[in-house]
C-alpha cells in the first residue's frame, strides 16, 4: 500500500468517516495545510505516549492522578458519574458543583455488546468505596442506555452501603410548557413531586 492509501485507510478509523470523507481529509492535509498535518501527526504521537486514564476519575491525564482529582479545593465526599469527558466539561460550566467526577467513557448498551466488563465498572465500584466518598451522583444521559447504566451502578453501590442519587430531569429552566418536547413533559408528569 502506498503512503497516500495508507493515510486514507488510517483516517477511516475515526467514527463516521467513510472512504470519501477520508480521501477528502487526506488531500486537505497534504495539499492545503501541511503545517497543520505535521502538528496533527506530532500531537497524536505525544498524546499516545503521554496520556493515560486517571487512576481516580478515569479521564485522560499525564500524571497518575489528574489535577482536578488532586486538588484540595474540591469536595472529596461527592462523586459525580458521567458518561463522557464532554459531559464533565458541561457540568463544570454550571459552577454549581465542587465535588469529584468519575467518567465512564461510555454507557451500558446491551445491543452494542457494551456491558459492565467492557465499561470496567469494577474500577468505579472500587473508586466509590474508598471510604471518603459519601454520596455518588449519577449524571448519565436520559437515554435508555444512560438510564440502564444509572440503574445498575446505583444498585451495586447501594448494596455496598454508598448513598446514591440521580440528577433530576424535567421542563428546562426558562422553558414554557407549550414549547417543551412531549417526552420531557410526559416524564415530568410521571416524576412530579409534592410541594
Amino acid at each position: 500500500m502506498n503512503p497516500l492509501d495508507q493515510l486514507i485507510e488510517a483516517l477511516r478509523i475515526l467514527p463516521g468517516i467513510g472512504p470519501k470523507s477520508a480521501q477528502r481529509m487526506a488531500y486537505h492535509l497534504l495539499q492545503r495545510d501541511r503545517a497543520g498535518a505535521a502538528r496533527l501527526g506530532q500531537s497524536l504521537g505525544v498524546a499516545l505516549e503521554r496520556l493515560q486514564h486517571c487512576a481516580r476519575c478515569n479521564t485522560f491525564t499525564e500524571a497518575e492522578i489528574c489535577e482536578r482529582c488532586a486538588s484540595p479545593q474540591r469536595d472529596a465526599s461527592l462523586l459525580c458519574v458521567v458518561e463522557m469527558p464532554a459531559d464533565l466539561a458541561v457540568m463544570e460550566q454550571t459552577h454549581s458543583y465542587r465535588g469529584m467526577y468519575y467518567v465512564l467513557m461510555g454507557r451500558i448498551s446491551p445491543l452494542d455488546g457494551v456491558g459492565p466488563r467492557e465499561l470496567n465498572l469494577e474500577k468505579l465500584i472500587a473508586r466509590a468505596a474508598d471510604g471518603v466518598v459519601a454520596e455518588v451522583i449519577l449524571a448519565t444521559n436520559f437515554t435508555n442506555e444512560g438510564e440502564a447504566t444509572a440503574h445498575y451502578v446505583g444498585e451495586v453501590l447501594r448494596t455496598r452501603g454508598v448513598k446514591v442519587s440521580r440528577i433530576a430531569r424535567g421542563v428546562p429552566v426558562g422553558g414554557e410548557l407549550e414549547h417543551t418536547d412531549i417526552g420531557t413533559l410526559a416524564q415530568a408528569m410521571v416524576e412530579r413531586r409534592s410541594l
Partner: protein, 244 residues
Amino acid sequence: MNTRQRFDDQPGFVLHTYPWRETSLIVETFTRDHGRLPLMAKGARRPGSAVRGVLMAFQPLAVSWSGKSELKTLTGAYWQGGQALLGGIGLLCGYYLNELLLRLLPREDAHPILFDRYAQTIRALAEGRQTAPLLRSFELALLQELGYGLTLDVVAGSGEIVQEGGNYYFIVERGVLEADGEMGDSATPGSALTGRALLAMAHDDFSDADTLAQAKGLMRRLLQHYLGGQQLESRRILIELQEL
C-alpha cells in the same frame, strides 16, 4: 417496483439505532404493517435535530418514510405517548425483546399480531409487572408467529390431546411426545414437561411457578435452536450485571 413509495404515520417502535456517517443514524424499526424495517435518518445526530430525542426504543411512535431501495429514508417520527419510560430490570428485559426481534424477524415481513403483543409487553414492563411471565409469553408468541408450528396441547404423531396428569417431553422440530412412549429414554435431559404445564402454556397462562420453570427451559432450548447457537448479548450482559 420502480415507483418511489411513501408511507405516513405508521405505528412503530425503534428497536435499535446505529450511527451512520457524521450526522446520521440507521434506525432499525419494528412497524405494525411493514414489519422490521431499517430506515436512514439523515442528520438525526445534529444537535438541533427534531427527531433526535424521539427516536428512542420502547416508545410507541408514528413513523413516516419514503424510498424504493432496501434502505428507505425516515421522513418523520412522532411520539405517540401514553407510556412511561422503561427503567431498571424492565429496561434490560426490553433490550432482550429487541434483540430477539432483530435476530429472528426477517426484514419487511408484516406481523401485526406480534406487533400488538410487543406493544402490550413493553407497556406491562413499563408498569413494573413481574418480568418472567411476560418474557415467556412473548417468546412463545414470537416462535408461533415465525411459523415454527409450536403445538403444545397435542401429542406429535398420534394427534392425541395432552392430558393434565400426563408426562411428556419436547423434541425440537418434532413436538410433544409422551414420556412413556418408545422414545422415552432418548429425551434430552431436563426436557421433561408435565401435561398441566403444557396445557397452561398453550393457554398462555404463566401464572404458576412450576409452569414458568418448565417454560423457561423449553423456550431456552427452542430459541437456542432457532438462533443457530448464537449468544444473545442482552442475556450475557444481564447475567454480568447480576454478578456485580
